[in-house]
């Protein structure tokens, strides 16, 4: 008999409806997986009781070795042991070359485009390496939760671009995981502290790990987190504290000359344990004695603080820059969250508190907080919290964009993107001395604005007169959990702002939406030759993901079992085509899947429209639109 867990009163799901979800912190150095069990989100340990999985994969002729066992071999087998693969995700060979000096891998020469690494087990891509790490974590969770996972949330740095995000999703797909959504690491940390339950607010996330420092400023508006600014230093972390102590030790010992590599390593290890001891103790003893090096030193917390003070000050300077980039005043920041093992250092806590003028949140283990937040989100997205209406996962039925020069539509948020979402894009003036800009918001998949649906027009005035291309106009599209779109435009040097709110699916019947989609599919098929394979894949991936999520959410409520089965078969078929590289086959597969799911989509649309119209008067929407039109 399966083992049973305690559930909150009235929430026990029938055995086959129980959903298993997990949150994954796919880190540069270490990765973790967490899940909500018996109402508590916690990271899951492996058989040996280890929560962290070193993000290391060693390729041998017998197969890959993942985690601590691979890390142990890193020094002996550097070419085949891939560490820090996160730094390579979604990067081209050229980008990687510049990092390459620090990395001992043999990058594959013949491949153009994405980076690939030669190993004893053949050529592997960073996506495949990440997939091994994900697979290992997902297996651990499946064993712990006694069943296949229904969905995962994977965290990524806020500064990851589309290619890096797509690579992460591809890795998950390769690992056989259903990605409910990618979540920004700082957002996950904020969710772990329940900061998403508020309505409004500005939050700073300070993440100091072993080798990297990241700071992010987020704004929460209508339940949507928006990244206002990110900053940091990709080569500053706790390892630098260790170096500072080791240098001090060498000075104390009076040693002169060159240290052997082994001695350096030994001193760094001792420095690191002294540092970690000083987090709770006032004093630490460090001693080392061998043929050429002898030291016996006492390091006090105060002396340690003095050693690392300049390093911590560097992080505070980066915070100041990010707060400025975010365009917020220090007083507007409601909460500061600490992430990363090095935020355990007391001096770090006190300097952060001094700068922000508030005690930072740090009572969740800073190594685990990101995974915990991701697990909480995964639990909601997979549907385990029926009475909680937080962050309904829904998707945009059609892309949203702006009219640009030449009557072209520039897509800002793509169709099938899960909402809520906020996205900003920068535009500029095209005439010298231009002081106003017309913002035309459109909806649809076609390239020409005339083929899309016009949603709203508004004008940003008061742009200072400059030469063409000098003004920076940041346009932000924000779709909240109810599908309500607000668009704001801001000239960044003066801060002049204008905005409009509009309901994107308002006024469109299901047939119209279906028609718009169909025409875009037909169009896409004609253009297939020119569209790149990558684009087709991204689109197919989105459709699969959206349909998968929609099925998980509403499938059983709206469809008979054989239809669900049919759709799942169709998804599988498209997935098979995805592994090939026939652009046309993939595009047509996407189209087929779109058609196969049309009925389901309109059933969902019906349900969504009923929900939306219950809350909003049609007249209100009209007014909102015309008030802002110029």
């Amino acid at each position: 008999m399966a083992l049973l867990q305690i559930t909150e009163p009235g929430q026990a799901a029938d055995p086959h409806d129980r959903k298993r979800a997990a949150g994954i912190d796919l880190g540069t150095t270490n990765s973790l997986i967490a899940s909500v069990r018996e109402g508590v989100a916690a990271t899951l340990p492996d058989m040996e009781g280890r929560h962290m999985l070193p993000s290391v994969v060693r390729y041998t002729a017998e197969g890959p070795i993942i985690g601590a066992e691979a890390l142990e071999q890193a020094a002996l087998d550097p070419h085949n042991t891939i560490v820090s693969v996160k730094r390579l995700m979604g990067r081209g060979v050229e980008d990687v070359r510049s990092l390459g000096e620090q990395l001992p891998y043999r990058f594959s020469e013949e491949s153009s485009g994405l980076a690939r690494i030669e190993t004893a087990a053949g050529v592997v891509s960073p996506i495949e390496v990440s997939a091994e790490i994900l697979r290992s974590l997902v297996e651990r969770a499946s064993e712990t939760l006694a069943g296949e996972l229904d969905g995962v949330v994977i965290t990524v740095p806020a500064y990851f671009d589309d290619a890096q995000r797509q690579a992460t999703k591809d890795a998950a797909q390769l690992a056989g995981a259903n990605v409910l959504r990618l979540l920004n690491e700082p957002t996950a940390a904020a969710i772990a502290y329940g900061l998403d339950t508020g309505d409004e607010g500005v939050i700073a996330i300070y993440d100091l790990g072993g080798g990297t420092f990241d700071v992010s400023v987020l704004r929460l508006r209508r339940g949507v987190f928006e990244v206002l600014a990110t900053g940091g230093d990709s080569s500053l972390g706790g390892d630098d504290f260790d170096h500072a102590i080791a240098e001090w030790l060498i000075e104390e010992s009076g040693f002169e000359g060159d240290l052997s590599a082994e001695l350096q390593r030994a001193l760094l290890m001792k420095a690191r344990s002294a540092k970690e001891a000083l987090t709770s103790a006032e004093q630490a003893t460090i001693s080392h004695s061998d043929a050429d090096f002898k030291v016996d030193a006492e390091l006090s917390r105060d002396a340690f603080n003095e050693l690392i003070s300049p390093l911590v000050d560097n992080t505070i300077r980066a915070c100041r820059r990010s707060v400025r980039d975010a365009g917020v005043a220090l007083e507007e920041i409601d909460n500061v969250v600490l992430v990363g093992g090095s935020t355990r250092v007391p001096l770090v806590v006190s300097k952060v508190a001094d700068y922000f003028g508030a005690q930072p949140l740090n009572d969740i283990d800073p190594d685990k907080v990101v995974a915990v937040g991701a697990a909480l989100q995964a639990d909601v997205l997979v549907g385990n919290k029926p009475d909680e209406e937080m962050l309904l996962l829904d998707v945009l039925p059609l892309s949203l964009g702006l009219e640009t020069m030449g009557g072209l539509s520039e897509k800002v948020i793509a169709r099938n993107t899960p909402i809520p979402i906020a996205k900003a894009q920068e535009f500029t003036t095209y005439k010298d001395g231009q002081t106003a800009m017309l913002i035309h918001v459109v909806q649809g998949e076609r390239e020409l604005v005339d083929d899309c649906r016009s949603l709203a027009r508004f004008e940003l005035t008061g742009i200072p007169a400059m030469v063409a291309g000098a003004a920076k106009i940041e346009v932000t599209f924000r779709v909240d959990a109810d599908g309500l779109l607000s668009v704001s435009a801001r000239e960044t040097s003066t801060g002049v702002e204008a905005s409009v709110e509009v309901k994107p699916s308002y006024g469109l019947t299901d047939d119209e939406i279906t028609q718009m989609l169909k025409s875009s599919f037909d169009h896409a098929a004609d253009d297939a030759a020119q569209r790149s394979l990558a684009e087709a894949r991204v689109e197919a991936g989105r459709v699969i993901e959206a349909l998968g999520n929609a099925l998980a959410e509403d499938g059983e409520a709206l469809l008979p079992a054989q239809d669900i089965d049919m759709l799942q078969q169709a998804i599988k078929k498209l997935q098979e085509r995805l592994s090939g590289d026939d652009t046309r086959a993939i595009t047509e597969g996407t189209e087929m899947l779109g058609r196969a799911s049309e009925e389901f989509a309109s059933l969902r649309m019906d349900a969504a429209v009923r929900r939306a119209l219950a809350g909003k008067q049609i007249a209100d929407l009209d007014n909102e639109m015309s008030d802002n039109e110029v």
């Binding site: 083992l3 049973l4 305690i6 559930t7 009163p9 055995p15």
Partner: protein
């Protein structure tokens, strides 16, 4: 008869109730479901119902409604680890069969 807990099961209930922050005991109930009929439900108790029967075992109050008791009378609850998975296991003298998936049972 009634319902009994092993020491391990009692320990887990205590730590669960502590981390939840409220609850006077635990409820064992039986619900109809699934491929083979019945499933167990284990919930914290915030409010005792008038018809509830109370059994005390290992310092834990276990509440069972009379309808469920018919199916679980004499059950011993244990808390076990199976590899990475852990949870409650039931030794129920009334059980005749289980469904293939091991999620539900018949009496």
């Amino acid at each position: 008869m009634g319902v009994n807990l092993t020491e391990k099961a009692a320990e887990h209930v205590v730590s669960y109730l502590e981390s939840r922050g409220k609850g006077v005991g635990i409820r064992l109930a039986v619900k109809t479901t699934g491929c083979s009929g019945l499933m167990y439900v284990l919930e914290p108790v915030d409010e005792i119902q008038p018809e509830d029967l109370k059994f005390s075992s290992q310092g834990i109050d276990v509440f069972v409604d009379p309808k469920s008791l018919v199916y679980v009378d004499g059950t011993e609850m244990d808390y076990v680890k199976q590899g990475l998975n852990e949870g409650f296991e039931f030794k129920n003298p009334n059980v005749q069969g289980e469904c293939g998936c091991g999620e539900s049972f018949t009496v």
